[in-house]
């Protein structure tokens, strides 16, 4: 391939094809003091893409609280690190792979999982669990079924093969994501404090070592691709999708952790987005050093690769290491043992120059800090969207009168969003590593820490409908719900990671959604003391100019001090008493009831009072730790009706519920008022529970008991729901499989 000259790049504005603007090109010229060549402009374009530089979101991300007494490492490295006592820490992060998954769902999702795992073990941590948060259009479309089936299969393929259990996540189907699915993957690891690694290049003269798969022409410009709107042309950008090799990554994981254990590494960073470029430039910039790389030494899968191609390739399963001079041989010996390819490809230098050599020639020379620290930052215009103003006067309840609660329950249980996700998680190995104490199907998953009495609870949550209707409350709810799930499993929330999936930030309405939802999330994080230790931003999620629902996804991790505190949502025992915590008002904007009966959403999302939420969570954690409850379940989408039904189904047992209200029965049962939790409590402990809850000044109400094989709900002495649990279970379990039977199986 004949590369354009520096003059051609300027005259024909070829940098625009790489996603750089004219102003950005001028800045590059300024940094170099000359015209950039093809390789150099390619390097700037990926380093300054949204994916690598956060140029559109940086000022907003600053609002997140990121520190706390337990936080060992906040955002900035591969993943955040939080102390869990006994010289151990938990390491976790979430990341998106939306656009690759839209084009090649199996490999796109698989490599998304592979990437986030590398982020965690490059910190020196042993990955112990995976989660994923997925959004698709509706299952009536065969294209959606194809995407859904293959994304799930791709996630399963990677996680199962590498042997890290996929223990939780969420799946939502909504037309807002038609054509632009969301695939967010989260990885959680455990580390001993002393093993913590950094992505930094230190000590002039120290060798830079490349480990793992060879570099091919795949994934070139993946990072810029991830920051662009999807359009018909995306189909043509063929090389932007990579094929993953979980087997190779398993070897890479074991080899790297062996090097960590033997204290061989000065710096380690995964070659993820923007491949060799981003990893090497960031390591040098962080170390305050320069770097020389000889590209002839980079293991290559294909012949005749140009420096541009080598630097921008996003081939998977590769790591970059910096070690003390003289220890190369030890590193290479470990790689050989694991059957991994490795090569010394360069060295750390004094100064600030990032220099690349190929075929004996200098092919790029860039002041390294200009790639990392001097990336442009944009504060965009915010504008309140017209729909938001119009929704002010909408009262969702008006359209939801005379609804039969019995019918509504069956209807909502069968909505793919509320139905059992077993179809998904039975394809994931959620038990490998034999540490999974609470498997998928409860509020949060729980993984025990071997050799201790501790366990980690984890969950992902995010409700795009709420955020669309009201980004501030929606943002609060995303954080609060995730923390509530963690608390219901018996854990103290420690901190969170987030993935911000939004449309184009160049649209003032979208930027407003982004900004306001971050406000809401930040406030909730402050109040709950769950700092943000890392995350990912995925913008330009649009098809044909239509943005997705603004969808911040929260991944929360909590600590369970003693295994006996582990709690699930399932009712356990006949005659246990149901206690509902929190107040209920009629809040139906963005609710399942509204979606089910009107086919769309409008009005305002439920309001969340962050102080109320905080005491509720404290109260529940307190009663769980005192051993007073049998089950705890967060009341969220579908309201109290769904919460009770889910606990019955999980426990395979019925319940008798009596409620009093001045509101319409169905509206009351399906209202999505926040800050509520449903407990089941042994009869003899009810008094003690109420007493503790009262101390926190949280409203508590006995609403019935666990009994029999049917779910009976009386509102104001009228029997409004009466269904056998086996019937409910059937409807709930079969909903997704039914829609998938017409599926288009691929030949993967």
């Amino acid at each position: 391939m004949i590369e354009p000259t520096a003059e051609q790049i300027r005259d024909q504005q070829l940098y625009k094809e790489m996603g750089l603007t004219s102003e950005e090109y001028e800045q590059v010229k300024g940094h170099l003091g000359r015209l950039p060549n093809w390789t150099e402009i390619g390097i700037y374009s990926v380093m300054w893409s949204e994916h690598c530089s956060y140029k559109n979101s940086k000022p907003l991300l600053k609002k997140f609280p990121t520190t706390g007494p337990r936080i060992l490492l906040g955002p900035g490295e591969g993943a955040g690190v939080i102390d869990i006592g006994d010289e151990q820490a938990v390491v976790f992060k979430i990341e998106s792979h939306n656009h690759p998954s839209a084009v090649e769902p199996f490999q796109g999702a698989a490599t998304g999982v592979g990437g986030i795992i590398r982020d965690v073990f490059s910190m020196g941590a042993r990955p112990v669990a995976l989660l994923n948060s997925l959004r698709f259009g509706e299952l009536e479309s065969s294209q959606v079924r194809y995407l859904f089936d293959n994304v799930v299969a791709g996630i399963a393929h990677y996680g199962n093969c590498i042997g890290i259990p996929t223990v939780g996540g969420e799946v939502v189907f909504d037309n807002a994501y038609d054509g632009n699915p969301l695939v967010n993957a989260m990885c959680v690891g455990v580390i001993n404090h002393k093993d913590l690694q950094k992505g930094v290049a230190t000590g002039a003269g120290n060798p830079v070592i490349y480990v793992g798969a060879s570099t091919g022409r795949d994934g070139i410009h993946g990072a810029t691709f991830a920051s662009e709107e999807l359009n018909e042309e995306s189909e043509e950008k063929r090389s932007a999708v990579q094929v993953g090799d979980p087997f190779m990554e398993k070897l890479l994981l074991e080899a790297c952790l062996e090097m960590v254990e033997k204290k061989m590494l000065l710096g380690i960073q995964d070659m993820g987005a923007a491949g060799l470029t981003c990893s090497s430039a960031e390591m040098a910039a962080k170390g305050g050093q320069g770097l020389d790389l000889n590209l002839d030494l980079v293991p290559q899968r294909e012949t005749g690769m140009t420096s541009y191609e080598i630097m921008l390739s996003e081939s998977q399963e590769r790591m970059l290491l910096v070690v003390e001079k003289g220890r190369e041989e030890e590193v290479i010996a470990i790689c050989n043992k694991w059957g991994l390819q490795s090569a010394v490809i360069g060295e750390v230098t004094d100064g600030n120059q990032y220099r690349l050599f190929q075929h004996g020639k200098l092919v790029a020379e860039i002041p390294v800090n200009t790639l990392v620290d001097d990336a442009p930052v944009y504060v965009r215009e915010e504008k309140v969207p017209a729909y938001y103003v119009a929704n002010e006067s909408v009262n969702p309840a008006e359209a939801l009168v005379n609804i039969d609660a019995n019918e509504a329950l069956t209807k909502i249980l069968q909505s793919p969003n509320m139905a059992s996700k077993k179809y998904v998680y039975q394809q994931y190995d959620f038990m490998v590593r034999t540490s999974t104490a609470v498997r998928p199907g409860s509020d949060a998953a729980v993984v025990v820490v071997r050799g201790t009495d501790k366990a980690l609870a984890m969950s992902t949550d995010g409700n795009g409908r709420y955020v669309y209707l009201d980004p501030v409350n929606g943002g609060r709810i995303a954080v609060a719900e995730s923390a509530r799930n963690i608390v219901c499993s018996g854990a103290q929330p420690l901190g969170m990671t987030d993935c911000l999936n939004f449309g184009s930030p160049e649209k003032p309405e979208v930027y407003w959604q982004l900004s306001k939802s971050i406000d809401g999330m930040s406030e909730m994080c402050e109040v709950l003391q769950t700092p943000v230790v890392g995350g990912n931003v995925s913008l330009y999620n649009e098809t044909k100019g239509q943005p997705i629902y603004p969808t911040p996804v929260v991944g929360m991790v909590g600590l369970i001090e003693k295994r006996e505190h582990i709690t699930t949502q399932a009712f356990k025992q006949a005659n246990d008493v149901l206690v509902l915590l929190g107040d209920t008002s009629i809040e139906l904007g963005g609710s399942e009831l509204q979606q089910a009966y009107t086919g769309s959403i409008s009005g305002r999302a439920p309001v969340l009072d962050s102080e109320k939420e905080k005491v509720l969570q404290q109260a529940v954690l307190s009663v769980i730790r005192q051993g007073l409850v049998q089950s705890a379940h967060d009341v969220s989408e579908g309201g109290i009706a769904l919460a009770i039904a889910e606990s019955c189904i999980s426990g395979n047992v019925g319940a008798k519920v009596r409620l009093e209200t001045e509101h319409d029965a169905a509206q009351y049962l399906f209202s999505e008022t926040q800050s509520r939790i449903l407990l089941s409590v042994p009869q003899e402990k009810v008094e003690a529970v109420i007493e503790v809850i009262n101390q926190f000044q949280v409203p508590a109400q006995v609403i019935g008991e666990v009994t029999g094989e049917t779910l009976e709900v009386h509102v104001n002495d009228q029997l409004v729901v009466n269904r056998s649990v086996s019937e409910l279970t059937n409807l709930w379990e079969e909903a997704i499989p039914c829609k998938m039977t017409a599926s288009s199986t691929s030949t993967n």
Binding site: A153, C161, I162, G163, P246, K250, G339, Q427, T434, V448
Partner: protein
């Protein structure tokens, strides 16, 4: 009883097995790298689950060419107890230590769940602590557990009582005769798709897998003198 757990590149249930043997039996157990060519110092050998060599080509096929497999064959001949779980079962069939083959699940998906399993024989080296005909709960997690063999082989398996475990309820993968685990003719080599190491205490969902390990220990003690 000294146990070896063979580690192939891509094995991922190796440490689970080591932990289970330690926790249930408190006996000596070592992970053994696939380059090892002498296993004579071990009393029992386990081939763990996972994706040896990425399960590329066919599950378990590439692992059969690891040096350690010669050693496994040798010890099998001397009558030592050999257990292949999941991927280990696939390797044992590919290596010819057990008859038949494991094909892709008939529904084509990976399946992970707790599965009711019937113990067909309680007089084997591996099952003496179970009751004959008992149904136990042991998890499965595989995409290729669909056991297949020709009619003659199946008849022999049945006649010789080589079928130790069958799926009790719905068949989760389409396997012939609901087969979940078989032994060789001599009865010292066992291959099974369910993972006993994932079911050794209540919080895992079931403790039923533990008795496989205690059965082996009891058998070994009996045959010590």
């Amino acid at each position: 009883m000294r146990s070896a757990v063979v580690v192939f590149p891509g094995s991922n249930c190796d440490m689970d097995l080591v932990h289970a043997i330690e926790d249930v039996l408190g006996e000596e157990v070592h992970p053994v790298w696939h380059h090892e060519s002498d296993l004579s110092s071990y009393d029992a050998i386990f081939l763990p689950g996972g994706f040896s060599y990425g399960d590329y080509l066919r599950c378990g096929s590439l692992a059969t060419f690891s040096p350690v497999m010669e050693a496994v064959k040798k010890e099998a001949e001397t009558g030592k107890l050999i257990v292949g779980i999941c991927n280990g079962f696939q390797i044992l069939t590919e290596a010819g230590l057990l008859p038949g083959a494991l094909m892709r699940n008939d529904h084509l998906q990976f399946r992970c769940e707790l599965e009711p399993i019937t113990v067909e024989r309680a007089d084997s080296a591996f099952t003496r602590h179970y009751e004959q005909g008992e149904t136990v709960q042991i998890p499965i997690a595989h995409a290729e557990g669909n056991y297949f063999c020709d009619e003659d082989t199946l008849q022999k398996l049945e006649e010789n009582g080589q079928i130790l475990f069958r799926y009790a309820d719905q068949n989760p993968n389409g396997s012939l005769a609901n087969i979940a685990g078989i032994t060789n003719e001599k009865g010292n080599v066992l291959g099974m798709m369910p993972h006993p190491e994932r079911a050794i205490v209540d919080w895992m969902g079931s403790p039923d897998g533990a008795r496989l390990f205690t059965s082996m220990l009891a058998y070994w003690k009996e045959n010590q003198q």
